[in-house]
Symmetry: C2
Subunit: 287 residues, 2 copies
């Protein structure tokens, strides 16, 4: 087990109970799909169902005053709106990244594609952003500080929702040692909500046989986080997801005269990026 076991401090449960909690938590992960591919197993990043290990987790949630939690929730739609507007303002993007462009070849080439699309007036009137904003509580200023705002390949909507459930379960079972209230663990519906957002975007395409295409890396130890969304998409919304690397899209994809992307003979309604944010994901030049 590699679960992070907090040090036993005054007021904490006795060491034996902490050990028991860690054991129960690891079991819970195995039973509930809170798993990743084990880096010790070379097949775990490519073959599903093998080389699984519980995802890293904290045994208990971090303490966060409710006011900060509410603040973060209130900020979320505002940041989402900001990212959306920035994404639509091509000139602003080109200008603000002009210095990065000079020193970073990857960004430079992405901006070059972007510039070409601007030149032909390429526009998508429907778009979907799935973001994750990370905060930490700053003890000096006692304020919530944003660490980063993920706008592509935002990970852990699937596993994160499970961690909240795990914490509630542990607090339920060990409540008498912990003096914590399981109902104070905020609900985390990211898993079903990400799927719902993807399904909404899919339905805009308005073709029942169309699919969501998840762009993935050829090796992905965090595939189960992604598969949770695939499952919700299928079971709650009847939407099929296909998984492709950018290389596979280049090899197998086809653009119809009306602009529709066809992969594996299926019309692609939504392209969902869980890759594409590093140069490694672009092993060849487009033809």
């Amino acid at each position: 087990m590699s679960a992070a076991v907090p040090p036993v401090a005054e007021g904490s449960p006795p060491g034996a109970v902490v050990e028991e909690m860690a054991r129960e938590a690891a079991v819970w992960c195995a039973l509930h799909g809170l798993v990743v591919g084990d880096r010790a197993n070379p097949r775990s990043a490519t073959v599903p169902g093998v080389g699984l290990v519980h995802a890293p987790f904290s045994l208990l949630p971090a303490h966060l005053p409710e006011s900060f939690w509410r603040q973060a929730c209130e900020l979320a739609p505002i940041f989402n709106e900001l990212v959306d507007r920035v994404s639509l303002d091509g000139n602003f993007l080109q200008d603000s990244l002009s210095k990065t462009r000079q020193v970073d070849d990857f960004t430079s080439r992405l901006l070059e594609i972007h510039r070409k699309m601007m030149a032909i007036n390429k526009e998508e009137n429907i778009r979907l952003g799935l973001h994750r904003s990370d905060y930490m509580l700053d003890s000096e200023t006692s304020s919530l500080l944003q660490i980063e705002l993920n706008t592509i390949s935002t990970s852990f909507p699937g596993l994160g929702s499970l961690v909240s459930e795990l914490h509630r379960t542990l607090i339920n079972h060990y409540g008498n040692f912990l003096s914590l209230d399981p109902n104070r663990v905020p609900a985390n519906a990211a898993s079903s909500q990400f799927a719902e957002a993807l399904a909404r975007a899919w339905s805009e395409f308005n073709i029942d046989s169309a699919v969501v295409m998840m762009i993935v890396q050829p090796e992905e130890r965090n595939m189960y986080d992604q598969y949770w969304l695939t499952k919700h998409l299928k079971e709650s919304h009847g939407v099929t997801t296909i998984r492709k690397t950018l290389s596979q899209v280049e090899a197998e994809g086809q653009i119809l005269p009306d602009g529709t992307l066809l992969v594996d003979g299926k019309k692609v309604a939504v392209v969902y990026y869980r890759a594409g944010y590093t140069p490694n994901d672009y092993p060849s030049e487009a033809v």
Copy 2:
């Protein structure tokens, strides 16, 4: 993946679809706790949450005419009654196993304990049997033949229930290739029903703080099958399970004057054997 992929025969789905089904099935196992410890990982039999791999499974259920299914269901309570009556008939047991006793030291010593208990008129007026009767369809006689009847450490109530769910899910998703009806996969509630039976036995003891003690082997790659029952016992019945090897019971257990077994300071309401059926489980003499 080590999933048993059936050969592609006429009327079967195309090979690519079978591959896709096997992949989806392996993912399903990882997300839903249909897992075992991987023998390639030495820690997987002792440390929960590590070295997990999907349990072996067939991609589709075996075909069984409904009449045979009903026959097996009707036979179950009759066989259960038979086993219960045999277990109560000490003389019959001693007589019928007398020849085995002569050639098998393990059985001989179990019978010796049994004989001593008979001599002091030791009786338990409450007992619980959790059995599994295995059948195969005999093609020559076209009849259902019993392979074995498990009366101790019956395994796979936990994972078996999941396999039925997996089959229904696959048939749902690939129905157009399979010409199979997911509703014809019989419900398998063994997991929750085993837990319910254990909870019923526990409630007869009538002490809220008492526990179910699962007797386990020190190394158990099939621990998640067992943990599913632990989970149902806790979440559906509020009953705590402790896991002990026979060695641990000898070292840590204590029998109170009134006959109550105390382990870890907890009164044991039910002893549930998932070990004890091989000489290896008895590493030392009782003191």
